[in-house]
């Protein structure tokens, strides 16, 4: 009988230790979930109608409402943790609408400077960011962290607001009447509005950091916060107002 008691005790102890181990194993992921809880509500993807709790960089939620209905079809907020899909769709029209919007920012940041003159100079960065998608991904992550520190808001939301505020609604085109070239105002499609907004945000980040002490992630964070508040000092909203002013005078 005594032997049986001992054996039962041992079994009980073993069971108790096993439970402790299991509870420790369980508690570790629970703690992580508790940390990310304020943002980790399931978000429904508008395209696939699947619900997921995937967060951008493991921190920020994709559950952002788009205020401008015209950009709604083109701002893609499909939840991906590290948006880097090796897609094949460059020759298809409107395949841009299927890319995650953060990945489109990466693609527009991988550029060798400003294409045209800005402030009297053409900036060439000589391949500092061209083709370096992992580097750009880290830049965006640290820029988003800085935005979150400064504004205490979801940086994905700040980014979407910045895009909405820097998308022009009218533009000009050149028309030639018998040797005289004149400008005519035309409207801008939703896809092109988003393209211009993304390009100007990326150019502002590159110009803000080139030959300056400021790092590019700080410049990008500054630009996102300014453009989201519709500030006068933001490059992207300034450029948008300039385009619209020229179009208004050419009506």
């Amino acid at each position: 009988m005594a032997q049986e008691d001992v054996s039962t005790d041992v079994k009980a102890e073993a069971a108790a230790t096993a439970e402790q181990v299991q509870s420790k194993k369980r508690s570790a992921p629970r703690r992580k979930a508790a940390q990310a809880e304020p943002n980790a509500q399931p978000v429904e993807d508008t395209r696939t109608h699947q619900r997921s709790t995937t967060l951008l960089f493991g921190k920020y939620s994709y559950g952002v409402e788009i205020h401008d209905p015209s950009l709604k079809n083109y701002v893609n907020l499909t939840p991906i943790e590290y948006p880097m899909t090796f897609r094949r769709g460059s020759q298809k029209q409107f395949s841009k609408a299927d890319i995650n919007i953060i990945e489109r920012l990466e693609n527009s940041l991988m550029r060798g400077g400003t294409g045209s003159k800005i402030g009297g100079h053409v900036i060439r960065t000589e391949g500092r960011l061209q083709g370096k998608k992992q580097k750009v991904l880290k830049i965006i992550e640290s820029a988003f962290d800085k935005v979150n520190e400064r504004t205490h808001k979801n940086p994905v939301e700040v980014f979407v607001r910045a895009l909405e505020n820097s998308a022009p609604i009218e533009d000009t085109t050149r028309v030639r009447y018998g040797g005289i070239i004149s400008n005519v105002a035309v409207d801008v499609s939703a896809s092109r509005r988003l393209d211009i907004a993304l390009r100007n945000v990326a150019i502002a980040a590159i110009v803000g950091a080139f030959k300056k002490k400021r790092k590019i992630d700080e410049a990008l964070a500054d630009e996102l916060v300014l453009a989201a508040n519709n500030d006068v000092n933001s490059y992207a909203t300034k450029r948008k107002n300039e385009i619209e002013r020229m179009a208004r005078s050419a009506k």
Binding site: H67, D68, P69, S70, K72, N73, Q93, F94, R161, E164, N165, I169, E170, D171, T173, R174, V175, R176, V184, V186, D187, V188, S189, A190, S191, R192, R193, D195, N229, N230, E244, A247, R248, K251
Partner: protein
């Protein structure tokens, strides 16, 4: 300051001036593209589409007007128009 005290003249109303922008609101009026004339691309480089679109906002909502558009478009897209009283003219290029 004297101009503010005068009553608004009725013929000034159709000229829709850009309003000061508040957070969450945008200038312009929403319109939905209902027809794209693919064969009538104009402009020097053939980059301008002529479309007919139905206005969704404002006092002209429901009206169908013709506009010139820049950039990739397809039927069913929603665009923003700066004003709704102007019909697009033909852009004729030799």
């Amino acid at each position: 300051m004297a101009e503010e005290n005068q009553p608004a003249r009725p013929h000034d109303a159709p000229q829709q001036q850009p309003r000061p922008q508040q957070p969450g609101t945008f200038n312009g009026f929403l319109a939905e593209i209902i027809e794209v004339k693919q064969k009538v691309k104009t402009g020097i480089y053939g980059e301008i589409y002529t479309v007919s679109c139905r206005i969704l906002e404002g006092r002209d909502s429901g009206r169908i007007i013709r506009r010139n558009l820049l950039g990739p478009i397809k039927k069913g897209d929603v665009i923003r128009l700066p004003d709704t009283n102007r019909e697009a003219k033909d852009i004729r290029v030799k």
